[in-house]
Each structure stands twice: as C-alpha cells, then as structure tokens.
C-alpha cells in the first residue's frame, strides 16, 4: 500500500493491513529518524462483555474533510516529514484495525506529540458514531468524559 505525499488521510470501508501501511510510510520518509504510530483495533473484550462486532458510521460531507483539516492542523503545529491517518468505517470484528495514525519526524518528541494530538482529536472531535454488538444486542457508544479531558490537555 503506497503512501500519498506528506499528508495521507483515508477513510476506508474495507479492512487494511497496518503493517504494510507502516512499512510504506517509513520507506516514504527516508530523512525521518523517528516514526510514532497509534493503532486502534477492535478489542476482544472479556467474558460477558465480549464484543462480537463493531460498526462505525460516518457522514460523508463532514467526516473525511474534517480529518483532512485535522491533519493540516497537525502538520502546521509540529515540524513533521509526514503524517498518516487511516480510519475504518463499516462493520468490523474483534482484532480488526479501526484507526492508524503515524507521524514521521526528524525529532522523536515531535512525532510523539503529533500522533498523540491527532488521536485525541480523532477520538473526540471527528464525525464518527460507533456501536458495538455485545451478547447479541447492538448498543451505541457514548463519548467518554476521558475523551474530553484528553482533548483539554492541548489548550
């Protein structure tokens, strides 16, 4: 899977291979010494709380444009060589990748901060709605207070 330019933002309705994407991302930025990535995958869950399936919905006119705007903000805030943000929509099973964010930078701290910031904002400000199937029943996931406190860290 090739990487498109310094900023690569994608909304995918089918599965993807995070390892292949990261390999391509690292290869696309040979001048970068450090790559920080976050991968979110569907949690297997425990016993009675086992997640059988997860679905993410989006709103076409808003979701991808907002991700692109977030990526532009991140690129402007830290000196990065590249930024990658891939988000799944649709139905997923435990173990499936949901989101992959990666930042390439000369300096490690910039890559960590950029990936961290991007994830905080993807989690709490992006146009996704998530529902999980547990014990045969679907339930919509509400935003967590933690997501807002994570966001508040960035001022």
């Amino acid at each position: 899977m090739s990487v498109a330019g310094p900023v690569d933002v994608r909304l995918l309705d089918a599965g993807f291979d995070p390892a292949a994407v990261l390999t391509a991302f690292a290869a696309a930025h040979p001048a970068s010494g450090g790559f920080v990535s976050f991968l979110g995958q569907v949690r297997a869950g425990d016993g009675g709380a086992a997640v059988e399936a997860l679905e993410l919905r989006h709103y076409t006119p808003l979701t991808l444009p907002a991700m692109q705007a977030l990526a532009a903000t991140v690129m402007a805030r830290w000196p990065l060589d590249g930024l990658l943000a891939i988000h799944r929509v649709g139905a997923m099973a435990p173990g499936d990748p949901i989101v992959l964010v990666a930042a390439a930078a000369r300096h490690r701290r910039d890559a960590f901060a950029a990936a961290d910031y991007a994830m905080d904002h993807l989690k709490s400000e992006s146009w996704f709605w998530k529902r999980e199937k547990v014990a045969g029943a679907w339930r919509w996931i509400e935003p967590r207070a933690e997501d807002f406190s994570d966001l508040a860290r960035w001022g």
Binding site: G40, L56, R57, Y59, T60, P61, L62, H87, I98, V99, M119, L122, K123, S124, E125, S126, W127, F128, W129, K130, R131, W140, I141, E142, P143, R144
Partner: protein, 80 residues
C-alpha cells in the same frame, strides 16, 4: 420537492430510518415539530448538532431552508 433529514448514530434508531423526506417547511423548528414526539425530543437534545447540505449550522431554529436541502442531525461523536 421536499427536504431530506439525515439521522446519524443513535438518532437513526429513534427515527427508524437513516433518512426521511419531509415537506419543505420554513424552519428547522417547524420541521421538528411535525415529527413523531419521541424523535422530536431526541433531535432537540442540545448536544445534537446540525449540518445543512454538509455545512455545520450554528443556529438551529431560524435557518432558511429550500427544496432539496439535506439537514443532518449529528449526536455526540464516539469514534476511534
């Protein structure tokens, strides 16, 4: 002609459909009043945001609407 209402996230469950075609009433308030009371209540949750034709709308009750517009009701997000 008519307006399209789009219900995101859990609002789709309340509405019983992802989208709904309604007559072109003049304001959002009038449209919401014309809906099933349980759905109207859910749409009036102050956390629900609106987009008209894919653009977030700041004020909700006094937008001027035209035939063919799509009004999306966006409950709090829960992504990632």
């Amino acid at each position: 002609m008519a307006l399209t209402l789009a219900f995101l996230g859990r609002l789709e469950d309340v509405a019983g459909a992802a989208t709904l075609a309604v007559p072109t009433l003049g304001t959002i308030a009038a449209i919401i009043d014309s809906l099933d009371p349980a759905l109207a209540l859910a749409l009036r949750d102050p956390r629900v945001k609106l987009a008209v034709n894919g653009v977030l709308a700041g004020e909700r009750d006094d937008l001027a609407l035209q035939d063919g517009d799509e009004i999306a009701f966006l409950p709090p997000v829960s992504g990632g």
